[in-house]
């Protein structure tokens, strides 16, 4: 038993385990007793595993309740890659060199510094304009770097982590959807939606009303709409508006759909029309002078 090798009672106190390991390791120096040291180290690993599992850092994820009203694009045999490869549009990078001068950065930092206090969570997706002038290292422009600090933060429970990640992801999504440049960029959405954390957040039913509010009245191309549909787990409708040749994404399915309503009304009118014609004809035949 590994506790015997370490010479302590079973415990979840990591410091205690480490201390026991350090004492045992010094007694069985790997230079002199490699075999014995290996046993000690294996025991230490087992003990650490025990300690970390008992403190219950993570909880198993609950299954998302199935909602059968929606069609899963995955059932149609289309993969996410297929969707991405269909029409990948890569936006041309803006080549304004002035943006990257030290002076320019210095000036803009004064103007935008007040913005930074907005929300702590936002720091994961750092606003590229927010720079501090004090530190020369901060003047360098790393646009696309996400600080990994928060992503690898330890949370007490799965739920807490999920909540935290959700808030960041939804904020980022709102920014992307409201910015006109990024809204119709397939490339941006592709990179965003291929993140594991993002998919996890989007497929959570609890977030769907928020997602719906974000995507409400936003227009997308078919490919982007399909990517959403895939990322959200097939639990949303892609709605086509022929009038503007544009696609909407409907997550909750609560909204009345303009296109459907229209077409049904048209069809109803047609039926009534035909009925009226037949009726008139019949009347005409019946009432025709004998």
């Amino acid at each position: 038993m590994y506790w015997d090798i370490l010479g302590i009672e079973p415990t979840t106190d990591i410091k205690k385990i480490k201390r026991a390991y350090a004492t045992a390791a010094k007694k069985n120096n790997p230079e002199e007793f490699p075999e014995k040291f290996r046993e000690v180290h294996d025991a230490y690993e087992q003990a650490m595993k025990f300690a970390s599992s008992k403190s219950g850092a993570f909880v198993v994820k609950e299954d998302i309740v199935e909602n059968t009203d929606y069609i899963d694009v995955r059932e149609l045999g289309i993969t996410f890659e297929d969707l991405q490869n269909l029409y990948v549009y890569i936006p041309e990078s803006k080549n304004s060199t002035e943006d990257f001068c030290f002076d320019e950065v210095g000036i803009s930092s004064e103007n935008t510094e007040t913005k930074s206090s907005d929300d702590e969570n936002l720091s994961v997706f750092v606003d590229k304009k927010v720079k501090s002038v004090n530190d020369i290292e901060d003047n360098f422009n790393f646009d696309d770097v996400d600080v990994i600090q928060n992503k690898y933060k330890k949370f007490d429970s799965y739920a807490q982590r999920h909540k935290f990640i959700s808030s960041i992801v939804l904020k980022k999504m709102r920014n992307l959807a409201e910015d006109h440049d990024t809204q119709c960029s397939c490339y941006v959405w592709k990179t965003f939606l291929s993140d594991k954390d993002v998919v996890e957040v989007l497929s959570d039913v609890a977030n769907h009303s928020v997602i719906d509010s974000i995507l409400k009245r936003k227009r997308f191309t078919l490919q982007i709409a399909n990517m959403f549909s895939y990322a959200i787990g097939g639990k949303c409708k892609v709605v086509y508006n022929p009038e503007f040749d544009i696609y909407y994404v409907d997550v909750t399915g609560k909204r009345k759909l303009y296109y459907y309503v229209n077409s049904i009304r048209k069809r109803k009118l047609n039926k009534i029309g035909w009925f009226a014609v037949v009726l008139l004809l019949a009347l005409a035949i019946v009432l025709s002078p004998e």
Partner: protein, 557 residues
Amino acid sequence: MAVIGIDLGTTNSLAVCWKDGKKIIIKNSLGDIYTPSAVSIDDNGEIIVGKAAAQRLVSHPKVSVSEFKRYMGTDIKFRLGENEYSPEELSSFVLRKIKQDAEAFLGEPVEEAIISVPAYFDDNCRNATKLAAKLSGLNVERLINEPSAAALAYIEKNRFEDGTYMIVDFGGGTLDISIVDTFDSVIEILAVAGNNQLGGKDFNDAIVDYFCKENNLDFESLSPESRAIIYKNAEQCKMALTDSSMSVMIANIDGKQYSVALDNNRLIKISADIFNKISVPIKKALHDSRCSVDEIDDIILVGGSCHMPVVKAFIKKLMDRHADNTINPDTAIAVGAGIFGGIKARKQELKDIILTDICPFSLGIAVFEQKTNEEIMEFLIQRNTSLPTSRINVFNAVKDGQDKIHIKIYQGESILPAKNLFLGELEIDCPKTKKDDVICSVRLTYDINGILVVDVITNDNKNYTKTILSKSNQFTEEQLNECIEKLNALKISPLEEEENKLLISRAEALYEEALPDEREIIKEYLLRFKKSLQTNNNHEIRNAYSTLEKMIDEWGY
């Protein structure tokens, strides 16, 4: 007898010795701590190693070579004049030079050494390094991973305080990340990740590309000389950006002058790809160590490329904190290797320190998967398992009446054996076994010196053991001696001799000008130096040389 630690670098090498309770950085015959890892052959067919060879890289590119560490363990040969040399042989020249310098500096024979290697060296590269040491006459039992060595240097400096650290080792040709935990002076490497094809050299390439693009030059169609000029200037431009915010790169090609201005932000833009690549192993190491960022107490930057402000800034941005700057990024690895030499020699003051290293790659055997009728990997030792380790697994028969087992051992992470590094195989007979019955158990043992042993126990309790030796380790004693003799036959240019002659002529010139009573002193020192040359004792020569040189420098007109 001293044990020295050697940092055998891509561009520079240096050695450190743990002596009398402290670390001593060994200076070479020129008084420098760095010996460039460059080899050149002069007109007489004599081999030149070090600074002189590095200078000849530009003047005699056809007979000079550097950066051969990148090709350790491969079949690539370098052509120098008439002969071809393997990277192992070239490394052995550098090691031999370091050995001689260390013996002269310490005044005692050096036979054993610890050599640091990138964590992402696989078994082939590691054994090639050991072979190079053997060829140079050094006994190298142990290699140390470079980031582990850097960690050791940092932890020794902080007097073995408890903590968890991340080491970013970004050198000329490799990037290694490791996460290290210390507790009660037991140092444990938790995870290692890296990219052995990423280094400061890639920044040079990016600058070269940018330079050519801006000036509408086609790099491929230029002559080798012009290419060398552009390349050298690009490197200088990169280095200039370390201290100044702006640098202009100028190159004269075919009588025309081309130039381009570069600042750090522009450098970031043109090398965005490199930064993306840097963040990958950092995330992987964090993930593998199961450590959160909050638990990391300090970030330690080592390796030449960490001098670049853009790299520092990137790490700071990525990790959202400042990195430690108390240790010298250039010497940290050698110092760590030297300390490890002290640990290995069981020096009293380092007696209680234990460093457990890990194997950076997974080890396993190929098994037959019946569902798909193909060979797949079954890993016994997973990557980042601490050494020494031993793992056992039981395997079943594939067919009815199977009476032979073929065990192939691989190193790597791919599920397909063909994509991994093949280390060795073992074919054994066993009693006939029914399908799906247990046929044998396989135990892989990977010891502290990186030697892999396979134990197979068949179901009739017969035990087969084999030590796996990689290609460069399969040299027989005779082949090895032959090779050593071949290398011994080569004359290594006595660089000191030239220097000694230079010093003597300087002393003689001083003697002519000096006053009578000064003359006596000069004569005394000069004769002492000349006498020491006759004894052929390197230590004595060094002492006499330095005193004479000091005197000349003080009195020189």
